[in-house]
């Protein structure tokens, strides 16, 4: 059997938990997360790296998991949308999306939350232009983006006042 057809062991930290997963080396990280790790919050929108529904954080960077081969995730620290739900209260971004209509059908929402949170971690006081740019890799068909920006701005305001 050729090398690429044999499964390998991929060990990574997913949402603070070390997981050891078996996968083909060129399997998409998106599928490994959804099927092997059972983390179905990350969505497939296009499978070609255009829509951002599959966005995750890998070693701190926002990436499209549909384009990451499993072998590249070995040794990585990964955060998915499920990584936002292990705390007692919703994150500022999540809460803002709820109150400000940032989600309608919800299919883009996990990726948007990842992208917004990644932005705020790097830049806690972004301008609206910076928010637009940071979210430009996440497509949304329902909201027209307006309330997503409002949600992110609200999250900034909330975080500003949190100790």
């Amino acid at each position: 059997m050729p090398e690429a057809a044999r499964k390998i062991r991929v060990q990574c930290d997913i949402n603070g938990r070390v997981m050891s997963l078996e996968a083909h080396p060129m399997a998409r990280l998106l599928d490994v997360l959804r099927e092997q790790a059972g983390l179905t919050g990350t969505k497939e929108g296009c499978g070609e790296g255009e829509c951002g529904a599959c966005s995750i954080e890998m070693d701190g960077a926002l990436v499209n998991s549909c384009l990451i081969p499993a072998l590249q995730a070995d040794g990585a620290t990964i955060r998915t949308i499920e990584g936002f739900t292990h705390v007692v209260e919703l994150s500022a971004v999540q809460q803002a999306f709820l109150t400000h209509g940032g989600a309608q059908c919800g299919i883009c929402t996990p990726g948007m939350i990842l992208a917004a949170s990644n932005l705020l971690a790097r830049n806690p006081e972004p301008t609206e232009t910076e928010i637009r740019e940071a979210l430009s890799g996440n497509l949304c068909r329902c909201t027209g983006y307006t309330k997503i920006f409002e949600s992110v701005l609200e999250a900034c305001r909330t975080q500003r006042h949190r100790p």
């Binding site: 209509g101 637009r132 740019e133 890799g137 996440n138 329902c142 027209g144 307006t146």
Partner: protein, 307 residues
């Protein structure tokens, strides 16, 4: 597993579709059973809008009404997935069903005018203790004064129209023929806004889709097949392509809508592209007869103008 506190009323609605044109709703009002789990397996196809319609009709707080998530293993076939006038049609049925429940409670002598939310919960409890489950069945009926001849396509197809004015401001790069939507104002008269955030969200989403319709979403056909069916070559608006969309509502209540509401499902998609096309024409003098107005197409049109 949670216990419900006394005073919380569970209204469960099931949407039944026995025929293509008719909708029925079954509304159960069940009083909370102290110390026991309430049966949550009855499902509802309602959402936040229906919740507030129901709450307002009954004079309750939204917190006192529980929405159950729809589950296709439990909900009967309700026909196609459409949503043009869900708030208006289904919302009205929900409102009516809720009022039937209230009337049943009053007729049974358990509820009086000017009741409080606690009075309502108590009345439900008394009713179900004495008579069992309280149900109301409401069926959609086509208004008798609306006559539509489907054979001749004559008459009044609809009881109401929602109205809108859309204004687009665009800038056109005269060298590259790229168009940017710089500002967009959407005013619509919708009878009654049930949920301001969702209503504005619907308009904003539709306008964004209209921007794509007007400028980016070119469908390439080859021998009857669409050949650009991937996100990489079918271009839809990103966050960089949509200006701040300013939304305003006017309200002239429609008697047959819940609290006067009309539908706004497809409304925002209708006027957006024409507004943008007219703005491009205004900016360039080109006669815009086709969308999307891609840079290639606009460049041809501009050559026609300056020829």
């Amino acid at each position: 597993m949670r216990e419900k506190s006394p005073g919380v009323v569970h209204v469960e609605l099931r949407l039944v579709e026995p025929g293509a044109q008719r909708r029925q709703q079954l509304a159960d009002a069940a009083a909370p059973r102290r110390g026991r789990e309430h049966d949550r397996r009855l499902v509802s196809v309602d959402d936040r809008r229906q919740l507030s319609v129901r709450a307002e009709a009954l004079g309750l707080d939204c917190e006192q009404i529980e929405i159950l998530q729809p589950d296709t293993s439990l909900v009967p076939n309700s026909g196609p997935t459409v949503a043009s006038r869900t708030t208006m049609i289904v919302g009205k049925l929900v409102e009516t069903a809720a009022l039937v429940i209230r009337k049943s409670l009053m007729d049974a002598g358990f509820l009086k005018q000017g009741y409080s939310a606690n009075d309502f919960a108590s009345a439900c409890r008394q009713y179900t203790d004495k008579f069992g489950a309280l149900q109301s069945l409401v069926k959609y009926q086509h208004p008798g004064d609306l006559h539509w001849d489907d054979g001749k396509y004559q008459g009044d197809a609809y009881g109401a129209y929602a109205w809108a004015v859309y204004v687009a401001e665009v800038s056109v790069d005269m060298r590259t023929a790229e168009v940017r939507v710089e500002d967009f104002v959407a005013v619509q008269e919708v009878g009654k806004v049930i949920n301001p955030i969702l209503a504005a969200g619907q308009i904003e989403g539709g306008v964004a889709q209209g921007i794509g319709f007007a400028l980016y979403e070119n469908v390439v056909w080859q021998e009857g097949r669409m050949v650009n069916g991937q996100m990489t070559n079918y271009i839809m608006p990103t966050s960089m392509d949509v200006p701040p969309i300013r939304v305003f509502f006017e309200e002239l209540p429609y008697a047959r809508g819940p609290a006067g509401a009309k539908g706004i499902g497809e409304l925002p998609l209708d006027g957006t592209a024409p507004a943008i096309a007219n703005a491009i024409a205004h900016a360039t003098g080109a006669d815009i007869r086709q969308i999307p107005v891609t840079p290639e197409k606009l460049m041809e049109m501009l050559e026609g103008v300056h020829a």
